[in-house]
């Protein structure tokens, strides 16, 4: 097995873990964390492809990862803000309680 495949398998596993968490956790914050993990799996892929790709000097993978991290930070801030706002309304972070879009 070559190193790139290993990296990709690892990131696939990471993605699946994130997916499993996002689909099965009740706590909205942990669902968000699961989504972050999926994003991280993608980042790992980018880095792996950059490292073992034909043209590492172009820095494409690194750039994509940096932007992705930046966006993840924004996403986390807004996501947690929304969770706080919802919590204030429903008194719970349990996603099973958030079953209506109306306030």
């Amino acid at each position: 097995m070559n190193p790139l495949t290993t990296c990709l398998l690892l990131s696939a596993l990471l993605f699946s873990i994130g997916l499993a968490g996002a689909l099965s956790r009740r706590n909205a914050i942990l669902v968000l964390v699961g989504i972050e993990l999926m994003l991280n799996a993608a980042n790992l892929n980018f880095i792996a492809f950059w490292r073992y790709g034909p043209n590492p000097a172009a820095l494409t993978g690194v750039m994509f990862t940096l932007f992705s991290i930046g966006i993840a930070a924004a996403e986390a801030a807004v996501g947690l803000g929304i969770i706080l706002a919802v919590y204030r309304h429903t008194k719970s972070t349990d996603l099973d309680h958030m079953n209506s879009l109306k306030g």
Binding site: N27, Y87, R88, H89, T90, K91, T93
Partner: protein, 385 residues
Amino acid sequence: MSTLTLDPIAAKASLLKKDGGQLLEVSMGPQHPSTHGVFRMDVVLDGENVVKLKPIFGYLHRNHEKIAEDETYLGSMPYTDRLDYFCSITNNWAYALAVESLAGIEVPERAQYIRVITAELTRLQNHASLVGFLMQDMGASGTPLMYAFREREKILDLFESLTGARMMCNYMRFGGCRVDLPTGWLDQAKKVVAAFPKFLDEFENLLVSNEILMARTQGVGIIPAELIVNAGITGPLLRASGVNYDLRKVDKYGIYDRFTFRVPLGDHGDVYDRYMIRILEMRESVKILEQAMRDIPEGPFTDPKTKVRNFRPKPGEAYGRIEAPKGELGFYLISDGSPNPYRYRVRPPSLINLTVLEEMCLNRNIADVVIILGSVDIVMGEVDR
């Protein structure tokens, strides 16, 4: 999720906020570095804001009043030292004043002067250390406190050479004082008092215009004048809220009408005012001390006619009160003609000044609670008695 379980009391008080957040009930004390003794505050916090505060005391209750009723009049005198153990001499004076008015005892001139001198020295050391403690509560890592304690030590040394004890002085007697001033004592006291304004200047340089101090204390813990009068609060707290009431001026007990001094008044009634009022009062006390030490006459230090043994005042009642450093300290006595009082009651300023603690602390930060309590100036020996 949360493993912080609610206390039963807190659960009863329904500690859920309207917006779903959770309130936190914290028991500040009785083992807390800033409660000035074994005092406890049941604080309900929203984040760090106080939404409810319940003072709880009694940890130091010693049954002082009841014991005094089984004790001779003189036998209670050392006990009064332990009320406000910072200012034993003023406690003695208030008690002596009550007994003197009960038994109709005249106090000789020299004794009056000695009383004023020792009482004002007590006020100096109480206020100085209070300001130090207040700074300590504000987190100034002890420097102002140590400065204040340096001055306090000098005054305590004076007390020690006069009475044999540094804090539990047991100095006053009905009709005068226990012993006369030792030779050279007055000179020593004059030196200490003369050096005191320098210390105050130094202290003010260090603290008064400190911006952190102003930010921490100005506008914090305000009590309006109306509330403070209704709550019966006395002493520097009352004057910081702008009410001109000083028993030294109102009652003119002892010989206070002979001295010229002013009563500083605050306009805001916040912690900064209380702190400044105390500093200004120290300056006025220095003035009184200078006058008293200049004018002190020779003569007997105690009323020779007063019986020490078998002291039985006529049946009746009396209330003696003084302006103690913390406020109006009063002793109410009923005599039935026996050697011990029928009823003995203390009006402790510390306890009564505590009554508005919740009003001062509501919607304030937990850090404010500590300095508000510090600015009230309590001594648990007096609160719990």
